[in-house]
């Protein structure tokens, strides 16, 4: 939960968004039986439609662009020479081809872990400092990672998701991701598959995507990163996976860990062919 107020320029939109959606959600269980809404009704989808193309994520995109282009850190350099997989300095379309193997690190990297590499190597800002705020919490604790991810993802809007699966390490990451998806553990015996491998299910009123199907996987994956209305924050796939594992009753997923990247690889391949529409707007 947030503990401080959001930055002034986004406060009115964030508040309005949350107020209207809260109203829609809270009204649902309390209405009389005569006017009971269909459980399938999706207040977020309705609200998203009302807002058209407006999304508070734009404030993260703008801050991310500034972080990308402004010389910073001990080396006083911008991130404009960062190679996101399509060559030095190419941002457009790069997110649609991640995760992938990078020869300069010898690892498969997703968007966030690659951004960490670029910030470390180009700007000389150390990982611990950068990741002190992995997940932002209001104006006083903004996450540079979330802003950068929003900016880079937005530069792939409209691009078709096409993730390479040729390097042995890319194949290994996919295989590992698939194992993790079905790996049951913890006091509740949950795996990702417990909630995300069947069609047409809901948890409470929330629709659950079947992430083993292309259509559901595309709709879910291509809209991350996303502005989370309930949190008034922009969140990335690293956050999404961390919070899923929290609810699975497992320990804290390390940011940029092998498991997080492998699972992202598996999900990205399931969503292959989808059109990036990020940052999205989610509950």
């Amino acid at each position: 939960m947030r503990t401080s107020s959001p930055e002034p320029e986004r406060r009115p939109i964030a508040r309005l968004l949350w107020a209207v959606v809260s109203l829609l959600i809270s009204a649902a269980p309390n209405v009389g039986s005569a006017a009971q809404p269909e459980p399938e009704q999706d207040p977020i989808a309705e609200y998203r439609a009302m807002f058209g193309d407006d999304n508070p994520a734009v404030f993260w995109e703008m801050r991310g662009e500034a972080l990308w282009t402004t010389p910073r850190g001990p080396k006083n350099r911008s991130l404009e020479d960062c190679d996101l997989g399509l060559g030095k300095g190419v941002v457009r379309g790069a997110y649609a081809q991640l995760p992938r193997y990078f020869a300069d690190t010898g690892q498969v990297q997703d968007l966030e872990s690659r951004l960490v590499t670029c910030v470390e190597r180009l700007q000389g800002i150390d990982r611990a400092t950068l990741l002190k705020v992995r997940f932002g919490n209001g104006e006083a604790h903004r996450s540079d990672m979330e802003a950068l991810a929003a900016y880079v993802a937005a530069q792939s809007r409209g691009a078709t998701l096409s993730v390479p699966l040729t390097h042995p390490q890319e194949k290994a990451a996919y295989a590992l991701g698939e194992h993790i998806f079905y790996y049951r553990a913890g006091p509740h015996d949950f795996a990702c598959a417990t909630c995300h491998a069947a069609d047409g299910k809901r948890i409470r009123l929330q629709k659950l995507p079947n992430l083993t199907r292309a259509d559901d996987a595309r709709a879910a994956y291509t809209t991350w990163p996303a502005y989370r209305i309930s949190q008034g924050e922009l969140r990335t796939m690293q956050w999404r996976l961390n919070d899923c594992f929290r609810q699975q009753r497992l320990p804290d997923l390390i940011y940029g860990s092998e498991v997080s990247i492998a699972l992202t690889m598996f999900l990205a391949k399931k969503a292959e062919g989808g059109v990036i529409d990020a940052p999205g707007l989610k509950r």
Binding site: S33, H179, A185, H188, A197, K201, R202, R249, D252, V259
Partner: protein, 201 residues
């Protein structure tokens, strides 16, 4: 790695060892998580049932029979012979979704979060559909010893009836206490419970 371990890994993960990832999985998991709150790294380790159920397809035949037998043996029936507690307490348990997460206070009792997956009281429309509807559960089934015993066992350890069920083993994994299970039982069986009554006018 010896041959037996390798074969076990192959069977469990159903893949060729060329990626090397199957046998490395426990180490990869330990490197990828840190202990937080009440969730230690030990939670990444699997018991035999979790291992057998970590695959895409259904588990059948001897493997399924083995899961049923092992989990049947784990069920502890109420020590005082009392099956039913307080349905109001049961409803609160069914509504509560917290417990055992690293973000939860371990001194607070866990919820059962039944509504996440099941329809129960007809007035609660915010129910999930991962599990079957339990509306009118007791009204439809009566309160005979056999159905009470089966339902207790199903809450305590669903793997004893449906191998690789997605439902948590609430008793076996000590998510709910014996008294909490009694209360959830009352929610299902008590004639006064909203589960067994029509929707309010």
């Amino acid at each position: 790695m010896n041959a037996k371990t390798l074969i076990t890994a192959l069977v469990l993960f159903g893949m060729a060892p060329t990626q090397g990832s199957a046998s490395e999985l426990p180490e990869v998991l330990k490197r990828s998580f840190v202990a937080k709150g009440q969730a230690g790294l030990d939670r990444l380790e699997q018991d035999p049932t979790q291992k057998a159920c970590s695959q895409a397809g259904a588990v059948t035949g001897a493997a399924a029979a083995e899961i049923i037998a092992a989990n049947q043996a784990s069920i502890r029936y109420p020590s005082d012979g009392q099956w039913l507690g307080d349905w109001r307490a049961g409803e609160a348990i069914a509504q509560r979704g917290t417990g055992k997460q690293f973000s939860d206070d371990p001194t607070e009792p866990s919820g059962g979060n039944c509504y996440a997956c099941h329809q129960l009281a007809p007035d609660e429309i915010a129910y999930g559909t991962i599990g079957p509807s339990l509306k009118a559960y007791g009204k439809l089934r009566g309160r005979g010893e056999a159905v009470l015993r089966y339902t207790w066992g199903k809450i305590y350890n669903p793997q004893a009836y449906f191998p690789c069920s997605g439902m948590p083993r609430f008793g076996h994994q000590q998510i709910l206490t014996e008294q909490q299970i009694r209360d959830v039982m009352a929610l299902l069986f008590d004639p006064e419970s909203p589960v067994n009554r029509d929707s309010s006018p």
